[in-house]
Amino acid sequence: MSAPAPTLFSPAAKEIAQSLGLSLGKANLDVFADTVLSLARGNRDVLAVTSDSRGSGKLGPFGQALPKQIVEVGIAEQNLVGIAAGLASCGKIVFATSPACFLTARSLEQIKNDVCYSDMPVKLVGISAGVSYGALGTTHHSLHDLAVLRAINNVNIVVPADNVETVAAIRVAARMKKPFYLRFGKAPMYALPRSESFELGKATVIRDGGDLAFLATGETVIHALLAAERLGRERGMNCRVVSVHTIKPLDESAILAAGACGKVITVEEHMIHGGLGEACAAALMRAGVACRFRMAGIPDEYTVTGAQADIFRHYGLSMEGLSQLALELT
């Protein structure tokens, strides 16, 4: 009998999620595929371009339903992005879909020149991002993508936290004639409680509070929320949790508001260099906001081996790890 798969949520974390009434939804990647298919059914200009990635991008049903709207380029990521730019120049709404690790490294020059510099409204979709591929190792991890794309002009960068943000981000990207990078993982995500609807460039407050703020992005937001809840129950702390789904343009006012709490922890499934944490630190420094500050993410070292859940736990990207970090800050 094989060992049980490691899980992203400890029994205690699951219990808190349950007590909050949170339900586990689909993987954002699945929601991406469903949403793009529904957009494409109503508009033949909506295309998926894949680099032997329709399976990993969950685009098999798309290819079967709309074979004329999927362009397969084979295992050739540079060509994927170049062809996507050419198609976009013809008015196509192109979702260039490939594992984030390859899309944002091997094709970086095509992203920089053919998409961003040429202002071609390609939707770059980085699938199985961060450490989603877990034990496949560093070749398959994308811990650099936010850093490199932040350094390129003219691209919106969106990292949805749950299914709701995923659907909204895809619809906004399809509507806007600008380059986008969308980053999805493949683990099922809890639906986050929210009162605000998704707005590009405006971070969403998931839980209000004034003692400490978690500024989290993507699939780490849920862990920050569970940590905040636990700290409230066990320590009486009132922690704010913000989903910074748009990394560019960054919602600086939400970051400054978080800084006013006096303690800020940034959380990301990314190397701590060049990602959300450093972007927030820069925004706080520019505004002269002094606060206690920590960045949770993957440090600059050979990433520990294991499943995504192992890696998250090892680096403290969990309810337990983040609540511990918060206590160290107080």
């Binding site: 084979g74 050739a76 062809i83 008015g91 095509q110 020149n113």
Partner: protein, 280 residues
């Protein structure tokens, strides 16, 4: 009225004059490759493609992507002649805040894609050609590559896809001047046998003298083999038209001095005179 071969030859002389003038004025430019590619651009824009300021927003226009973006000066003078902007605007070439930088950008009217990093034009052109097929449009897509540029692997990724998608609306033109910045392409990293490579990738091969207006016209305009992309291997001379620049590597991005410019202009005057006399 269609232009005659003679009129196009005279235009080529004029383009050479203009691009040398503006490179000299800017103190920068890719002289050798602009001179080797200018006859190709002349034929494309004045005889083969349906591209003009009047139709540049039309989805039915032909597309041109200059993958060897560094030879931008030949493109800039041809676009000016086509009426996309006044020629005099090239006085700002490489100046502070000018759109006329050292590689094509879409801020310059008439430019389809920002290029300059090598190995990008063919993938983008392939996407445009797939777009034409999806929309059942008749336009053609032309992209100009350098021969040194063929070492970039992305070209061959796109070549595979172009054949796979049976893109007979795609024409790859190689400015085969056999020189790159370090020296002879054959010695730097040989791409021989060039024709056999493209044939193996599924292209129809058309090999021509890249300075022969008539031969270029046929190679660029004739109907393609159905279901196959076309490569036009245009055998050219780097620095073509100026005796002391021809086939000399240092003119890759050499800028003529005042004296060299005067000498070059005198040679072009004589070439123009000879063309006119031959036509009498």
């Amino acid at each position: 009225m269609p232009l005659t071969d003679q009129q196009l030859r005279l235009k080529s002389v004029q383009y050479r004059r203009q691009l040398l003038h503006y490179i000299h004025l800017a103190g920068a430019g890719h002289t050798g490759g602009s001179l080797s590619s200018v006859d190709i651009l002349n034929v494309l824009y004045n005889r083969v493609m349906n591209v003009s300021p009047a139709n540049f927003a039309s989805p039915d226009r032909d597309r041109y992507v200059q993958s060897k973006g560094h030879s931008v000066e030949s493109l800039f003078v041809v676009l000016a002649d086509k009426g996309f902007y006044p020629l005099g605007e090239l006085e700002t070439l490489c100046h502070y805040k000018s759109h006329f930088v050292g590689h094509p950008t879409r801020k310059v009217p008439g430019v389809e894609m920002n290029t300059g990093a090598l190995g990008h034009g063919l993938p983008v052109a392939t996407g445009m050609a797939i777009g034409a097929k999806l929309d059942e449009k008749a336009y053609r897509v032309y992209t100009l590559l350098g021969d040194g540029e063929l070492a970039e692997g992305s070209n061959w990724e796109a070549a595979m896809a172009a054949a796979h998608y049976k893109l007979d609306n795609l024409f790859v033109v190689i400015d085969h001047n056999t020189l790159q910045i370090t020296g002879r392409t054959r010695e730097v990293c040989s791409n021989d046998p060039l024709d056999a490579k493209w044939a193996a990738f599924g292209f129809t091969i058309r090999e021509v003298d890249g300075h022969d207006i008539h031969a270029l016209t046929r190679a660029l305009a004739d109907a393609p083999a159905p279901g196959k992309p076309t490569v036009v291997i245009a055998n050219t001379v780097k620095g073509r038209g100026i005796s002391f620049m021809e086939d000399v590597g240092k003119w890759h991005h050499g800028v003529p001095s005042d004296a060299e410019l005067a000498k070059a202009m005198a040679e072009l005057d004589r070439a123009e005179q000879a063309l006119k006399e031959a036509a009498r």
